[in-house]
């Protein structure tokens, strides 16, 4: 994709000049001077008194507090426009296809399952944030050269509808293996690993649990047991799952370790007991990153935004808005969040290198086993 024969280019150039001349009001063909310097701190960009608006690209479920960026604008004079661009996978793909000529300045929401793709495409300009010393060490270890900055962590786990199981006096499923039992036939709904990052994390959890030799068989059994695969997490959780406000029909869903507090904190009236619970042994650790998109016009400003995103104030907003754990160890967690959410001691994990090399192969296998 990157190497084009010079002849084609020059030929096209001639054509371009002819055609563009014919096209009316072709004004916004932005030719962005790419940021040459990869050394973050020596970078210079636009003049300080020019009003800058940064575009923060994020996945659709990026919903921090409404005025969260006001403080940033007040301190730096830089405005932030949030642009939502689909699910995490789609977001990364779009960014990859426009690598070097980005649609925004900072991207929020590449997780450890997608990180290899972003780094391969050289999406980001490396930057060591001023908050580096305070960030979670295991999360930082995934980005040895600060190619991207960790911003939050979470766990993708099996959630279940407590009342549904209590009413029927059936024990809830506590392990991945249990889900293939006929007790739980036609009860599980999973977001597709192809488009959704929790879906992918769950698929990786099964590979971590049953090994590369065993996971295919596991999914064959899940399929026989009537697993429902839907496009995205929102659909799985809010439409099909019986424990959420959507009142769907299936009492077992792939969601987050921190989903139960959401059911408590945002429900009205607040239920007496937590309506949903998490199966701790099924969790896969997810780390999300933000990065400065290579080619941004506002490198220095983007660096300031990364600092802000990892700063205590912003990090403390995350648990109750995005239902994830802050990555900044100095951030305090809200009491009700700690009370209702589950943080597994030893979540399932896979080697990022292995994910990078096998992801497409696995997803193809998944599609063939489960979907067709």
């Amino acid at each position: 994709m990157n190497r084009k024969s010079i002849r084609t280019i020059s030929l096209l150039l001639v054509m371009v000049t002819v055609t563009v001349a014919g096209c009316a009001n072709n004004t916004t063909t932005s030719t962005v001077p790419s940021a040459q310097s990869s050394d973050a701190n020596s970078a210079t960009s636009s003049t300080p008194n020019e009003e800058v608006t940064l575009t923060l690209l994020a996945y659709d479920s990026f919903t921090p507090s409404k005025n969260i960026f006001d403080a940033f604008t007040r301190d730096t004079g830089i405005k932030v426009e949030v642009a939502l661009g689909g699910d995490a996978g789609e977001l990364v793909t779009k960014a990859t296809l426009t690598a070097g000529n980005p649609q925004g300045d900072v991207l929020w929401g590449v997780d450890n399952t997608l990180l290899s793709r972003a780094l391969e495409a050289e999406l980001f300009v490396p930057y060591a944030t001023s908050n580096l010393a305070d960030l979670d060490k295991t999360a930082l270890a995934l980005v040895a050269n600060n190619e991207a900055t960790p911003v939050d962590t979470g766990d993708v786990c099996i959630n279940y509808d407590v009342k549904w199981f209590a009413d029927r006096k059936i024990p809830p499923p506590l392990t991945l293996r249990a889900l293939t039992s006929s007790t739980y036939a036609n009860l599980l709904v999973v977001p597709s690993p192809i488009a959704s990052s929790p879906g992918l994390a769950f698929m990786l959890a099964t590979i971590a649990e049953f090994g590369q030799d065993g996971w295919e068989e596991y999914w064959k059994q899940l399929r026989q047991n009537g697993v429902l695969i839907v496009d995205g997490w929102t659909e799985a959780y809010y439409t099909e799952f019986s424990g959420s406000s959507g009142k769907g029909e299936r009492p077992i869903v792939v969601s987050y370790g921190s989903s139960p507090p959401a059911e408590m904190i945002y429900a009205s009236p607040v239920p007496k007991t937590v309506p949903t619970a998490v199966a701790a042994l099924t969790c896969y650790r997810q780390v999300e990153f933000a990065g400065i998109l290579r080619g941004t016009k506002y490198l220095r400003e983007a660096q300031l935004l990364i600092d802000y995103l990892t700063d205590v104030a912003f990090q403390e907003d995350l648990p109750l808005t995005l239902f994830v754990y802050p990555v900044n160890t100095k951030a305090r967690l809200p009491v009700e969040f700690v009370k209702y959410s589950l943080r597994p001691e030893s979540p399932l994990q896979l080697d990022p290198q292995l994910i990078a090399s096998q992801r497409i192969v696995w997803l193809d296998m998944f599609t063939n086993i489960v979907l067709r």
Binding site: N2, I9, L12, L97, T98, N101, Q103, I194, V230, Y238
Partner: protein, 527 residues
């Protein structure tokens, strides 16, 4: 052709040729070149590919057969009987064909029970709905030309109606049926929007697989190879269509002079059986066309089984939806201007330039062979190196709409221009008109209706375009079909109702466009 016209042909051809070379041929060649470089050619032999190709093929075959079953009775009544609303019925069954695929998908989500969502059945039903109009138009055009005396002769010799149909009518309709089937097959084979909306994660045609590989999996090489496969299959099919068309046209030209102007097949239904037949078919098909559309509109004003205009109010007040409405209108305008201009230039070049300019018509038909999805992918991977790094330029999306519209514009304008009686031009030349005066007062005046028709169709294409757009969309230039697809994939009654409100807007727009096209009475779009 007049000398001045013939001399102008090369100049007329410049812009269409360069445009097509740059935005269609270059990206297509690039796709071929890049896909050859990958060792992932082995993807062609994988289980996934076999599954996708198998599903794409069988659903297309089944859809085509069903379309014929539905279209034949409708064509039978519209080409044999006079009845009130005959022309309206023809227009009505054509409406779905011009509707955005996303809207048809949404309509079927609404009328089918939840258990059928994301099933092959839903996809096939939507394909039938979508394509019946196309088949009816092609078949009835031929049917109307069959000389009524042939039927009478068969009857006199004692053949029953059914026997007459099987032994006389059907053989004469053969070529029309074949070319209709091939076209419908291509439409179903390359279906994208319908499958994206109704297929869920499980059902994938080659088109959706291209999108899925490139945009969701991040496997661009796999997507490229799928594109090549798609181009080869459609290319072969189009060659088939044009060859059957050619023989059909030769055939129909004779009978047209012989039959249509003097004898009309259309008779009043006489026997009770005929009356029942006409009434049943006409009313059932009208209801079948209208019901899904009405259900879309109803869904937009219902929330929790109660009448509620919140969705409509939020559509008007929601800034993102409003901005996608404005984007759609702006792009439709750009598409109309650019595609009718280029189509007009191309059509003039082809007609005035004679056989040497046949390549212009082949070139401008290429976007049909290279599907919209492939076009989008090709543009993204081609214009990605500075100084022509255009992936982010908003203009690429309306340009892609133009590329999809140009083949249609060409096919509306060229025949009118070609059939223009040469005596008119000779007369004006004798009277001393300059070439420019002649063109303005004769050619332009005669193709004016065709121009309006093609502008209307181009705007419909732009308003509904989903394939290329889903590749070229950026965060700030979503068009209405993209907004519908995004809203439909989200839970929540209000959000869904908003999607249906937007779909209603598009349905009304397309119905208006069909009305314009049919009132002008020019030839139907097609290949």
């Amino acid at each position: 052709m007049i000398l001045a016209y013939r001399r102008a042909a090369p100049w007329l051809a410049v812009v269409p040729v360069i445009g097509m070379m740059l935005f269609v041929v270059a990206p297509a060649l690039n796709i071929f070149k890049m896909s050859l470089r990958f060792e992932s050619l082995k993807i062609l032999t994988t289980q996934t590919t076999r599954n996708v190709v198998w599903f794409t093929s069988w659903q297309a075959i089944l859809s085509t057969i069903l379309v014929l079953f539905v279209a034949l009775p409708i064509a039978a009544i519209t080409s044999n009987f006079k009845f009130v609303g005959r022309r309206a019925l023809i227009s009505l069954v054509s409406v779905p064909f011009i509707l955005p695929a996303v809207v048809v998908g949404a309509a079927f989500l609404e009328i089918l029970p939840g258990s059928l969502h994301r099933s092959s059945l839903a996809i096939i039903a939507a394909h039938v709905y979508f394509n019946v109009g196309l088949a009816v138009r092609i078949i009835s055009t031929r049917w109307e030309q069959i000389h009524p005396y042939l039927d009478d002769a068969a009857n006199t010799l004692g053949a029953s109606t059914i026997r007459t149909f099987l032994t006389v009518t059907l053989p004469l309709l053969r070529t029309a049926i074949i070319s209709a089937s091939l076209l419908v097959f291509i439409m179903c084979f390359t279906s994208y929007g319908v499958v994206r909306i109704l297929g869920g994660p499980a059902r994938s045609t080659i088109e959706t697989e291209i999108y899925f590989r490139a945009m969701q999996l991040g496997d661009v090489s796999g997507a490229l190879i799928m594109s090549v496969l798609q181009i080869l299959v459609i290319g072969a099919l189009i060659l088939l269509v044009t060859s059957t068309r050619r023989s059909k046209n030769r055939h129909s030209k004779n009978s047209q002079k012989f039959g249509q102007s003097v004898y009309s097949r259309l008779r009043n239904p006489r026997s009770i059986a005929q009356k029942i037949f006409v009434i049943t078919i006409a009313s059932v098909s009208a209801v079948a066309v209208v019901a899904p559309l009405v259900s879309v509109a109803t869904r937009s004003i219902l929330l929790r089984e109660k009448l509620d205009t919140t969705a409509w109010r939020s559509v008007l007040s929601d800034s993102t939806i409003f901005s996608s409405l404005m984007t759609s209108l702006r792009y439709a305008l750009i598409t109309v201007i650019i595609s009718t201009t280029i189509g007009l230039l191309g059509a003039c070049a082809v007609v005035y330039g004679g056989s040497r300019y046949k390549f212009v018509s082949v070139l401008t038909a290429l976007p049909v062979v290279i599907s919209a999805v492939t076009l989008g992918l090709g543009i993204i991977i081609t214009f990605d190196v500075s100084p022509i790094d255009w992936r982010g330029a908003w203009l690429m999306m309306p340009l892609a709409h133009c590329l999809v519209a140009i083949p249609i514009v060409m096919r509306v304008i060229s025949p009118v221009l070609r059939d223009l009686p040469s005596g008119l031009r000779d007369a004006s030349r004798t009277l001393g008109a300059s070439a420019w005066q002649m063109w303005r007062t004769i050619d332009l005046r005669i193709i004016r209706r065709a121009l309006v028709t093609s502008a209307a169709l181009a705007s419909a294409v732009s308003l509904g375009e989903f394939g290329a757009s889903s590749f070229l969309v950026r965060h700030n230039n979503e068009t209405l079909p993209l907004t519908i697809a995004r809203l439909l994939s989200r839970p929540g009654d209000l959000i869904q109702a908003q999607a249906y409100a937007i779909a209603t807007v598009l349905i009304v727009a397309c119905a208006g466009i069909i009305a314009v096209v049919d009132r002008l009475g020019t030839r139907e779009p097609g290949f």
